[in-house]
Symmetry: C2
Subunit: 608 residues, 2 copies
Amino acid sequence: MHPLLKLKRFFIGKPLRLDEQHHELLPKWKALAVLSSDALSSVAYATEEILIALVVAGSSAMVWSIPIALVILALMLVVTLSYRMTIDAYPNGGGAYTVAKENLGSHAGLVAGAALMIDYILTLAVSVAAGTANLASAFPSLQNYVVLISLIVILGLTLMSLRGISEQATFFAYPTYFFIFSMAAMLLSGAWKIHSGEGVSLPTPTYLPEIGLVLIFKAFASGCSAMTGIEAITNGIPLFREPKTKNAKTTMSAMVIILGFLFFGTTYLANQYVLQPLPDKTIIAQLASGVFGDGPAFYIVQACVAMILFLAANTAYAGFPALASLLARDRYAPRQLASIGDKLVFSNSIFGLSLAAAFLIFIFQGEPHALIPLYAVGVFLSFSLSQAGMVVHHLRKKESGWKSALALNFTGAIATTAVLLVITYSKFSHGAWIVVFLIPSLVFTFSRVHRHYLDFSKELGAVSPSYSLVHSKVSNRVIIPISGIHVGVIHAIQYGNTISSQIQVCMVETDPAASDRVKSTWNTVASDIPLTILPSPYRSVLLPLLDYIDQVRRQNPGDYITILVPEFVTAKWYHQFLHNQTAFFLKAALIGKPKIVVTSVRYHLKTT
Amino acid sequence: MHPLLKLKRFFIGKPLRLDEQHHELLPKWKALAVLSSDALSSVAYATEEILIALVVAGSSAMVWSIPIALVILALMLVVTLSYRMTIDAYPNGGGAYTVAKENLGSHAGLVAGAALMIDYILTLAVSVAAGTANLASAFPSLQNYVVLISLIVILGLTLMSLRGISEQATFFAYPTYFFIFSMAAMLLSGAWKIHSGEGVSLPTPTYLPEIGLVLIFKAFASGCSAMTGIEAITNGIPLFREPKTKNAKTTMSAMVIILGFLFFGTTYLANQYVLQPLPDKTIIAQLASGVFGDGPAFYIVQACVAMILFLAANTAYAGFPALASLLARDRYAPRQLASIGDKLVFSNSIFGLSLAAAFLIFIFQGEPHALIPLYAVGVFLSFSLSQAGMVVHHLRKKESGWKSALALNFTGAIATTAVLLVITYSKFSHGAWIVVFLIPSLVFTFSRVHRHYLDFSKELGAVSPSYSLVHSKVSNRVIIPISGIHVGVIHAIQYGNTISSQIQVCMVETDPAASDRVKSTWNTVASDIPLTILPSPYRSVLLPLLDYIDQVRRQNPGDYITILVPEFVTAKWYHQFLHNQTAFFLKAALIGKPKIVVTSVRYHLKTT
């Protein structure tokens, strides 16, 4: 194996067989762990977001977080019931892009696609930022390095994805359960301490102070970040064992019950413990140290929180390339992204995702609170498009039981659309405008790409292939530029002999003594092949060569001209850059000329 | 012209004819302007460097700057007389690399080459940083953006160099004279004001306070930055009109007289005006506002100072590629750098230089004072190698008058070596260690590159070319991977017919319906060419193709296998990335396999 490939393989791993991961179907307990990290991890920031929104009205206003959390719980219930219908209707995976495209048309599909694309980037950015914030809450000395740590985590996740460590691997199941159990232990211990009158200094106010509706909207919009990732199971149905849809629905219900319990429990206890949002200690960390003190239990909770957040970040690396592939198959994205089975192609998506998230983290200084307003718009836009698509689906298909399903999806569509409007309105100036601007831009780009591919097919189709066209006779002249006579040149001439009987060799003269030596050797070894010496007064290698090629081209109009460039593959990869620049520059310079083919003939050096 | 090329041409300009610049020979006054900006611009920082070194011993210690400046003036005189000998001996340009290599051997030459390479990078970094510092002294609101401004200036200089705006252009002559006249006006006005007892509050102490020798050494080492660029004329002799060497020597003497006057004058007046080094106002700026107040004259001086510094920075863009080309011709650097006449190659040097300088500016936060210790070591190392080389030159050649020339060069060699030791010692911990470490690393790299090229020639020479070897018969099979039947494929088959009679076409099946359509069309248009459909269970395009190629290779050992990949050149350059990925990935995947040639056959799309 070439050493450059060895290096690449070290980082990227052996060729990917993406679908092989799916051979092993998952039991429900494992599917829950694998598919719910994104949803459950939002517990780590949702309560804090509500409190940050409310604290501007004074700390007494924070008690509003409890009714707001209850409304969000109700919304979770509606959305879950609604998504259970999607599982029935799309057992092969019903992402928002598919559901919207099939039922609402390609434009709605593209809007959903754009929203999802942004969501995946923000899942990565927000989860990594929040995970780092929780690490830094446990180890305050890390506070000054949150951006750096977040970027390093993204780098690590990128390398893991490139190596193809699948998110279905069993060891990814543990952190989810560690998180669930550590959070549950914390919430229950905390509740017990409150109940037994231990440890809390101030009583929570039991009335709701008057605050403006706008503020309540803002706090609610912030809290809706608890619902990110809730739809992941609808994409993962093929991973389940039979009966797939039933198992998927059961798992989704279980997930939402756990999510609701953890989210409400955290919000309730945060009120009981009278926690205030702090810049350098997350609410979860405050709660953990409030309940457990600063002993090992605190560090265990923080480790579990950080772990599930990084795990949630990792889910973006599975979802994003899959979405890009869907878009590419429908010709809305560069078509090479469609062949998701090719590691080299797949890695382009991975790099794109990582760079976008790293950019966001850098711009927003790794602050989860600054990123979340960008997150929620896309999430609820894809929710509402998906639900609206399901409404149309039921009206069209009228499958058995469609009426109650329609009612559920209709409720879901109305609820999520209303929430989308609330979020867009209340978070617009906090960053949501970026997404509101980005989504149409992405849709426009998708459309332009599509348009190009359509025009392209048309232009290609305009020439109808026929036997005589395919077999029409053309002539091919070969030009071999050399810099001396050596084994690489000999190989190039051998190869040239196989492809044409009209070979011309040329050499740019940068040193007259050298070209004289070449001329005399040439006469003894290949006197039947014409050798042209090209003068180069300005020590340029390319310009005389390009002039010569142009001249041959004018003398032989209609012929193909093949430039054979002898190249070397060095034994040590880092020596490669000491050779082989000519072919690269020639290709760049000749890209505009039809019927000129530049071919590198490689000679493999053994020792150097 | 291809739009991508248009874009490139917009930024990079038309193909370079580097030596054309030299057709117009320069009169002395213009040569002085062109070749002395580097040397003269050091006046902008040298005095300040001395004062910064002295101020740690209290402000009374700063009067030491006057005797130190006098010693530096003496050193300038010695070095100038010494370099006049070099002009006589090397009328075609005697850079330190050439002189050291020819007289002291290739290792000394490489050390000089490494020192010069670092010098060019630091000429750029220091001059840009100092120019920006003077701009920011005039406009204090720029203080927070010095790094950004410096980077923008480097970007601007890079684009100018890429466009080939030569430093010999007439309009580059003006800033030098503006600088000389504005500085002279400032110094003379200042001296007049002192003489007439105007404007200065405190009398300068007239005695030298006792300070340690180490501090004097440090201040002296700092002040030696005044001598950077003094050797530029020895590289530029071919630019002069006849009699070249005489004119060059006269110009060099004129330059050093101006340099000495400006440097000493600045140092003297800085003492008279009792100036203290300040972080946000350069000494030159303080002097200008001290002499002229804050009116237009102050801004004119600052503009002239910034201009000459940026002009000095620009000289690095001529020197660095020329040096890289010399090293490449001697096979110490990648050989493509030798053909300096090729714009595309030339631009690699330009980018390398800009990136290195930008990196230094970024690391040292655009602070000239932090960069200068790195600068002086390289400068004096190349001075002393050059002088030592001249000593050996005289001893060998014994040309007429060699004895007095030897005496001068010997004095020069001793003086510059002594200064080199003083600088290295006193600046080691301030950054000079970086250069002390870098120079051997560069020399090592040069040697390894050289070693590789020697081994490479040996390996290539091991096969002696003969008529029978050149004309030995080999067979060539052609494989054309297609994704459908269209005009691009037809062109590829037409081309394939010219190069082989053994063509095989294959198609990766990602959609059975599509491959069925292709199969039926195929039978009507090219039934004589075998078409193989390759199954792809994992939606990979590359893996089935690589397997197939491998199979053909095993079945036909010894044959060349040419993979012809139909490609498209799009009408709009930004559509290019929507196509043509296959050839790229195939080449990357097949780089390790001998006797496989991957060729792109381009079809030029007309409308898309």
